[in-house]
Symmetry: C2
Subunit: 451 residues, 2 copies
Amino acid sequence: MQGVLFIPELRQLLAARDHETVREVFADLHPSDGAELISGLAPHEILDILAIIGNRSSIEIFEQLDLAVQKVCLEEADPKAILPFIEEMSSDDRVDLIKEVEPEIADRLMPLLAQAERDDIRRLLAYEEGTAGAIMTTEYASVDKDITATEALNRLRMQAPNKETVYYVYVVDHDRRLKGFVTLKDVLLTPPSQKIEQIMEEDVISVSIDENVEEVADKISHYDFLAIPVIDNDRRLVGIVTVDDILDVVEEEATEDIYHLAAAGKPLDYLNTGIFKIAKERILWLFILVLTGFVAGAVMQRFQSQLTAVIALVFFIPVLSGTGGNAGTQTTTVIIRGLATGELEMKDIFRILFKEIRVALLVGLAMGVLTAVRAILTSPDPRLVVPLSLTVGLAMVGCVILAIAAGAILPILFKKIGLDPALMSGPFISSLMDVFTLLLYLGLAAAIIPV
Amino acid sequence: MQGVLFIPELRQLLAARDHETVREVFADLHPSDGAELISGLAPHEILDILAIIGNRSSIEIFEQLDLAVQKVCLEEADPKAILPFIEEMSSDDRVDLIKEVEPEIADRLMPLLAQAERDDIRRLLAYEEGTAGAIMTTEYASVDKDITATEALNRLRMQAPNKETVYYVYVVDHDRRLKGFVTLKDVLLTPPSQKIEQIMEEDVISVSIDENVEEVADKISHYDFLAIPVIDNDRRLVGIVTVDDILDVVEEEATEDIYHLAAAGKPLDYLNTGIFKIAKERILWLFILVLTGFVAGAVMQRFQSQLTAVIALVFFIPVLSGTGGNAGTQTTTVIIRGLATGELEMKDIFRILFKEIRVALLVGLAMGVLTAVRAILTSPDPRLVVPLSLTVGLAMVGCVILAIAAGAILPILFKKIGLDPALMSGPFISSLMDVFTLLLYLGLAAAIIPV
C-alpha cells in the first residue's frame, strides 16, 4: 500500500485524462484496496475510473465496493455500462445489491440480463433475510460420482474461473441430489484412475435453505469448513455458503448482541441513517425504561414519611440502585454471551445458578460492608449511626444478591420460553432493579429506623 | 448426527468391551462431532476410546477436543501413549496445549519429541499472546519460483498430507524470503509448462509476526483470504494464519468488547473458574462505580434543604438518573462498536458528534415532555405544578443531552489519547451521569422552586 494515491491526486489524474497512470495505480493494488480507495469519490468519478481500468480488474474492484457505494453507482450509471459488473458479480452479492436499489432501477436492469441470470436472481430474492438461502452463492463446483480423479480435475479446471471456490467439490446425482463431497486436496492426492465415488465422503454435513445464518455460522466454525453446502427439502444441492461471508455474519451477530445488551435498538448504517430514525430506535427502549422509572418514583412516594423524617436515607439511593443495576448488568451479560457462544448450555442451568448465588453472596457482602462504613462515617446524627448503617448495609447486600439472581435467571427463563435472552438487556435489568432496590431499602428503613 | 450415542450408552459399550461398535460409531462421525461426544466423559475414558479408535481418526478427534479437555487428558495419560497425538497436532494447537498444562507435564513430554518439533514449539512459545506469532501455524505449503506449474503440483501432492492448507501456496527464495503467492486454482488453470514465477502475485499481502490478532483478523476479512502469511523482520516467511482460527478470534474479540461494555471484567472460562476469581473480576469494577455513587450522595447532601422542603423532588431521581444512564449507554455502545468494526473512523468525528447532538435534542425533548407531564399529573401541591414540572422536564432534556454527548465524546477522546475506548462502559457512563444528572436537577430546583 506504499505510494498509494489519495482522493485529490486521483481527481487530478482524472482531470488530466492521465489514464495510463490510473491503470498503473490500480494494477498494483489488491481489488479490496482499490475499492476502498475509490469509495471516497462521487459515483460518476467511480464509474469513470472503473471504465478506465476496464476488463476483469474493474469488475473485481466493483465487487469489493460497499453495498451502499455499489447502489449509488448503479443508480447513477447507464444500465448498459454497468451491465458487465452485474453479470460477473457472485450471485449472493448481486442479489444483495438488487434488494438494495430502487425497484425502478432493478426493473430497468433485469431485462438486460440473460434468462438464466434473471431466474437465479428471482430465486435468490425469494429467500427470507437471515437464512442460508439469503447468503448462499449458486456458484459452486460439482462433479459426477462416476468420473475418475483425472476427469474431475479437468472438469474443475473448466469450472474454476466461474466458481466461488473449487477447493470443495460437491458430488451430485442426475437430479442434483447431494451424494457426497471431496476436497480438491483429496482429488490431487488420489491415484488418477480412482473413481470419485470411492474417495468421496458420503456423510456430507449440510444446511437446509431456510436454516438460520447463526446456525450456518456455528456449523462452519465447528467443523472448520471453508464452505458448507445448502440443500432444499428434497436434498437437492442449491448453493454453498463460504467462510468469508460467515466472518461478516459473526461480526454482524456480535453487533446485534451488543446493541441488544445496551438496549440500543437495531444496528443501523450509522453514517447514512437520518437522525429521526436513529432517535426512534433509541426512544422506543428509553420509553419502556422511563415507565419503570415512574414505578420507582411511586415506590418512594409510598415511603414518603420515612424519607421526610430521615433525609439522609435519600443520599444512599444513587449508590444502591447504581450498584444493583451494575451487578445485574454484569451478570446478565456473562450469561447471555455464554449462551450465545455456546460456552454455556441450558443443561448447565443449575450449575450456573448455584455459582451465581455464591458469587452474589461474596459481591453483596463486599459492597454491603463498604456502604455501611460510608454510612457510619457520614451519618448526620449520632443516634442514627447504627440504624442507618444497618439499613444501608443490609439493603446493599440484598440488592446485589437480587440483581445477580435476576441477571442470571431472567435470560435463562427467556431462553426457556423461546424468547431471545438478549432482550434482557443491561438497561432493562438496571431499571427493574431500581424498583426492587427501593422497595427493599425503604422497607428495611421502615422496619429498622423508628420515625 | 442421527443415531448418535449418548454418554451412558458409550460407557456401556466401554464396560462391555464392545470395541467393534465403538469404532463403528466414530467412523460415522465427523471428528468435531466425535470430539464433542466424548468431551462429557472422564479423561481416562476419553483416552480408552481414543485407543480403541486408533490410527489417524483418533488423532483427528483429539485435535478437535477443547483445550481444557486436551489438558486434563494430557495430565492423566501416560506421556508415551499420548505422544502420537502431540506429534501430529497442528503446530498452533500444540503450542496452545503446551502453554496450558503444568510445567512438569510439559517437561516430561518435551524430551520425547523429535528435535525439530521441540524447536518448533520453543519458537512458537516465545511469541507474545495476542500476536500473529501466537496463533500462526508453521505448516504452510511453499514452492520455489523457478519450477513449472506441473512440478509445483507434484510438490504440493507431496506436501499436502502435512499442511494446514495447500490452497494457498507461498513462493520463497533460498533464504525463505517471501517472494510471491499463488493459489492452487492458479496453478491448476495455468499451462503445465508455465513457470510459477510468471503466474505468481508479487505484491503479497502479509502480516508481521508481532502484529495484533485483531489486525490479522481485519486483513483476512478485508481481503476475503483463506490464510495470510506471517513474516519476520527480515521478510522471511515463518508461518500462516488460517481463516478458521480467525473465526475464533473474531468471536473472542466480540466477547471481550461485550464484557468491557458491561464492565464485567475479563472473560473467564465460566464453568471452570472458581467463585472467588469470578467475584474478583466483578468487584473491581463495582468498587469504582460505588465511589461515583458516593459522590452522587454527596451532591444530594449539598442540596439537602431543597430535598427536605419539596420531598416530591426525590421521586423523580430514579427516572432522571436511569434515563440519563440508559441514553448514555446506548450512545457509547453505538460509537464503540462502530469504532471496533471500522464502520466509524476517527476522521468522521465531527460528523458523528454533529449527528449525536441532533439525536440528543430529539430524544431529550421526547423524554422531557413525557416526564414533565408525569410531574403535572402527580404533583402533590397545586402551587408546585408549574415549577416542579418545569424543573423535572428541563432536567430531563438536559441530562439526556449531557448523557448522549458524554456517551459520544468520551470513547472518541479515549481512542484519541491511545486508551481502549471500550473502557468507557455502559455502567461507567451511567454512574458518571448519576452525578451530573443530580447536579443539574437539584441546581435547577434551587433556581426554579423557591424554598
